[in-house]
Symmetry: D2
Subunit: 339 residues, 4 copies
């Protein structure tokens, strides 16, 4: 951490800051510049809130140096983590990119089983579908609950696909972990710490979606909560952030894929459906994600998007998925991967 | 809802949209413009996801007409709700503005009791302080838990102040409701629906903080979850949003106060501490909030901000609070209120 | 400037950075921390692009220390600048807050003269109105040009009000400076450097509006261009930034008023009209601005907003202005100022 | 346009809105819903500010229906525009993607000529480089002016590459058009209308960069200014927007490429250098851009980025460019294009 003093700070004011730094168990190092004095603080104290030093007289600001996360970092583990999912133990984070597809919500048994077959044919390695739905409005369809989980498990049995489904509260962790292969944490829950701790105590891989306004560091700290809880099988999912743009539901951050690949060993997948919000943009966003280096895609796919109970606007049909897969495969090969 | 067709949509394509609208149980009304056809949909179906219609051929976009929330709306209840808090039954939402102050976290008994006395002297009507802390990093101080709640209750007994404290998970709702006068839902949990439903089943007032990237409609829908659960005592708290600005931790949306006063009957308070992130900006933001029409303030106040265990940078001292209160009172009077 | 090395940087890599720093004419100071090495650079070189050092191997990032602006800074001039405008030499930046009001565009002579009288009665010290209009669409009304300037000058003669009007290109600087008392630089032109340099060569006060996505430093650097050109009479105008919020045209940054008062000696006014975009929010935003410490307001006021040729949605009537002024005066007094 | 009335609007209030609509020369169409009345307005009046109707009593909001731009729209011209640049008449917007590379600024003759040869070898079709630099700080290097243009022209002669360079003011349009093949309008000038009009009067292709906070409609309206001025050779350049993200200088909007391809016939290129701000992210962003459907790239490339006078942090070396081109070509082929 570096403390930057305001111009004109006196020796006494600098000494006061030095005392504070020592209070926090850090070593100080004072550097007098032409206009300003800065005090470098040496020592690793991730667990104290050093921002408080900002309150000392004539301090202008505090600059953190260390990344706030550890176990998610490439500093701790340099080789990429490979996380195996589902009955076929498909390796996410390996050379092959993995496509996860399915409806936003499990609406009924027939719909889900037919969709599972279709996405399998298209080349997907997992089926997604919500049994518990976190909906912005209390008046919207809230999911089938455990009944939906059973349908997903049946689809796995019939197709061999892995099952990825969301868990929206601590109370559901056990039941979801019983049926699912991957526990999804939704964007709205990225910083619901009791839930992160709870999935950290399971032995199932976790798909952690980036919050709508999460900084990269906060995203990795959320992963850190899960790893710290005892579960290192975390897959990160970039799904767009909220910006001033209006032609999209969210602005997909394609550079985040490259930055995450640079900062963490955890696999990174992209959700082009929430990441755009409109079916006509999904294929282009998917191609871009794979080209940028994503380890997989999480795509909303519905047999009849015009009548989907949720997220219809951003769902593509199984046919559109199949068509898109042709280019996805070629792009994966173009960068030395496989799909 | 209005469906806007692309230019060149054929009669058949418009008919297909009309069929979809009828499938959704709505009445249609087709209007042919010079360049485009639009289809107005009549009927109140807040519970269906009409966005799916966007997927129909030659549909450009869907424009919702109805506000998605109901019970939080001035359409349902025009007079302002007044919510009484604490042993003194202080009315939030009445003519008098209410100041809630205290440390980010309850750190120890002595600290909290002394702070409570100080903020009472400064004119506050409630003490705030976290016993359960949602922290971005798993390595940060996580709060004293129930021990902290007991200290808060003791402070209430000694001072008569109401107690406002955060509940971070469904599991803590009962214990927090046992000790506290107002249950705070933090910004990160604004869309944690199980928690909203759980506090909706208590009979304690709820302080609902706006999420970092929540639209006004989403904020009111979160309140709607609580009201829909059975608890209409919801106080809204504007606390800044995430933008590109860097001199602040969050950008305080002062216009949100006026817009909320226009759209909802629920009281609105402002958190100038998270809303700015820096102690030197708190007084100006507080004055602005009251001038804009806020019903109260939620201020972080610490005896020794330089050593605060959390949020030190944005905490002010009790003396600074007292000083600020002088202007707050005058501004309240300037707009015909009382502080 | 501080250069932060990645963990694991070798002595050779640090030496390479030290060499680069010396190439840039700066002194180096190497600090070895527990995890990382940082290199502090001493010396004031505002004119070189030190970001290039980021490209050296094993450099993680660069942290600037010095503010990039100088003459606009409180470090150079501590007492607040007072800028006198118009025939009455009204002092912007003094104890009295100054209200500037008028239509978005000068539409015709009669409209403007009647508006000038009305805003004068309401207590305004200047009339605003565009003669040259920068419009998002080439098909919108583009203003009356020099004819509009003549009408504004006539209004000044009749009422004694100062004239504030926008200059949209270098070509118009002379003619606008001939008629107007204050040259307004619009938000879209905040970084049009040839224009900043051109108004820097006039002797008329400049009202510089913050760009839609301008950081505070960039805003002050734009002011620095004008001051550097020879004209230190710069009034800053906060007018809202672009965020994800939709109930407003722009998000008014009330904290920016306090931060600017802390960082610069230049006067700061607020535009509550563009800052909200809707007439029903203008009064609350105006009150908040004065309470936060603004030196004045720039308000769009139209005799018949429903028929305004531009910005009708955010214009208030002269009656609404008069009504609002009552509270503005009281709030100014509440914080020890005058209106 | 649709006018949405507030619930409870009376017949008289609706009639008043109908009168206003007719004043604006539009036809009205009143639809009474269950909760609200909406009034559809028929007729194409892009040139009037209908927002003013929002001021009428009991109007809630106005929803525009027509796109505000015309000539840039696929409604007017469905086949993609192909714009030929430079001595080799390279077709931007055709099947082959075009790479434009070079330093941020022309620093000296030797540097530029050597860079031109290198980027040509790497497969670029044009050299970029600023002779007039719009710099955030008045103390930064401002470019070599006409001398720089002459060097660029010499590079064209020696290599056959097209020359792309920025014009920062109306005053420079003639001289830049004399030497350059493509006139670049920088992001900061996207809404400097006099400049848009001035380049609209030349016969040189224009590279229009998206503003830091420009909505897609505003971007296309800026293009419309140029086309409306008489020059339809406009190439759009997505270069990232300003968001809350901090690991990038700007957030590259990859979905904008697909959306623009859907809405306009103009070619679209991507600037991965400003779009990320860091050399280590440029290759991934470039691959994603081509995969998403961009017609080309505008890349900052410098012989010695560590000593670049501007934008060093985001410049890549010619070797890195060559290496990246291998994958770019394969990705272009994967989607049926050529590079």
């Amino acid at each position: 951490m570096i403390v930057i003093m305001k111009p004109g700070a006196t020796g006494k004011e600098v000494s006061h800051v030095v005392d504070l730094i020592r209070d926090y168990g850090l070593k100080d190092h004072v550097i007098e510049g032409t206009d300003r004095t800065v005090v470098a603080c040496i020592g690793d104290k991730r667990n104290v809130d050093k921002g408080a030093i900002e309150n000392a007289p004539m301090v202008e600001r505090i600059v953190p140096i260390l990344a706030p996360y550890k176990m998610a970092s490439v500093e701790v583990k340099q080789e990429k983590s490979v996380i195996e999912i589902g009955p076929a133990r498909f390796p996410i984070g390996g050379n092959k990119v993995g496509i996860i597809a399915g409806p936003c919500a499990v609406e009924d048994r027939d719909q889900l089983l037919r969709t599972a077959e279709k996405v399998k044919e298209a080349g997907a390695i997992a089926i997604r579908g919500g049994a518990y739905k976190p909906r912005t409005s209390p008046y919207s369809f809230q999911g089938l609950g455990e009944e939906g989980l059973k349908i997903l498990a049946e689809a796995r049995e019939k197709t061999g696909l892995a099952v990825v489904t969301e868990v929206i509260g601590v109370e559901q962790v056990d039941v979801v972990a019983h049926y699912a292969d991957v526990l999804q944490i939704g964007a709205r829950n990225m910083q619901h710490y009791p839930l992160l701790e709870a999935v950290g105590k399971t032995n199932k891989p976790v798909m952690l979606k980036r919050g709508l306004s999460a900084q990269i560091d906060e995203f990795l700290l959320a992963a850190e909560y899960i790893i710290n809880g005892g579960n290192s099988q975390v897959i990160l999912c970039e799904r767009g952030i909220r910006t001033f743009e209006r032609y999209v539901r969210n602005t997909l951050c394609i550079s985040a894929v490259a930055e995450l690949n640079d900062k963490t060993h955890l696999p990174v997948v992209v959700d082009p459906s929430h990441g755009t919000g409109h079916a006509h943009l999904v294929a282009a966003a998917s191609r871009a994600a794979i080209a940028a280096g994503a380890d997989g895609l999480l795509v909303e796919c519905h047999l009849d998007p015009e009548h989907a109970l949720s997220d219809g606007a951003q769902s593509i049909t199984p046919d559109a998925l199949s068509e898109m897969m042709v280019q996805i495969k070629k792009i994966a090969e173009a960068i030395g991967r496989d799909a």
